[in-house]
Symmetry: C2
Subunit: 123 residues, 2 copies
């Protein structure tokens, strides 16, 4: 029993979890697992990258709260959305999806900024 | 005029776009721009990473359509969500947000899979 103790993460995740067992040939399932392994790696990268992005927006939130600036900045958001659509076009990602994605993230960020601002005002 | 021709991307994006001009001291604005520069870099990474993730899920979509498998896989999605929540916890990202994010991406993926399946059936 000298193996390193598993984290909750490694213990519980089954990379072969599927509702397709028994419904499909083994070769097809193996090909599916191979692609899903890549998707799982991309998802881990996305989580860590989003975490880092929120660390940066938390810094913006504290700066804004300290100087009593509004949580949202419409001109900035407009410029970000146009840039992300252009980047998406270059990356062959659907620009509509990229815009929806950024709006989804920004709405979370504004919620954070509002919370930070409220806690500054309460202090 | 020997400078390389700008792409549409570089031409139009103003990293200092803001509704805060004139409302805030220059030092604060400079600090804000510095953090926003990092956010813009994270966003470019997110777009390219999402593009690569969709390339992988498109491969899954074609595999599923070829073998007449359903667009969604509930057991897989459940395992993915639990893993992402655990990863988010490790990365100090709100697990609720990570789950909402994955559901947002998965709903787009299922839409793609449905489109691929429809075009296979039409062929």
């Amino acid at each position: 029993m000298n193996e390193p103790k598993n984290t909750a993460l490694n213990e519980s995740f089954d990379p072969h979890a599927s509702s397709l067992h028994g419904e499909v040939q083994n070769e097809v399932l193996q090909e599916l697992y191979a692609i899903r392994g890549s998707i799982d790696n991309f998802d881990a990268q996305l989580v860590y990258l989003l975490a880092e992005r929120f660390k940066a927006t938390q810094r913006v939130g504290h700066l804004k709260a300290k100087h009593k600036l509004p949580p949202s900045d419409p001109n900035r958001e407009k410029a970000q959305i146009e840039r992300l659509r252009a980047l998406a076009h270059e990356a062959h990602l659907d620009p509509e999806f990229a815009e929806k994605f950024l709006n989804f993230v920004i709405s979370e960020v504004i919620r954070h900024h509002q919370n930070i601002s409220d806690s500054h005002n309460d202090a």
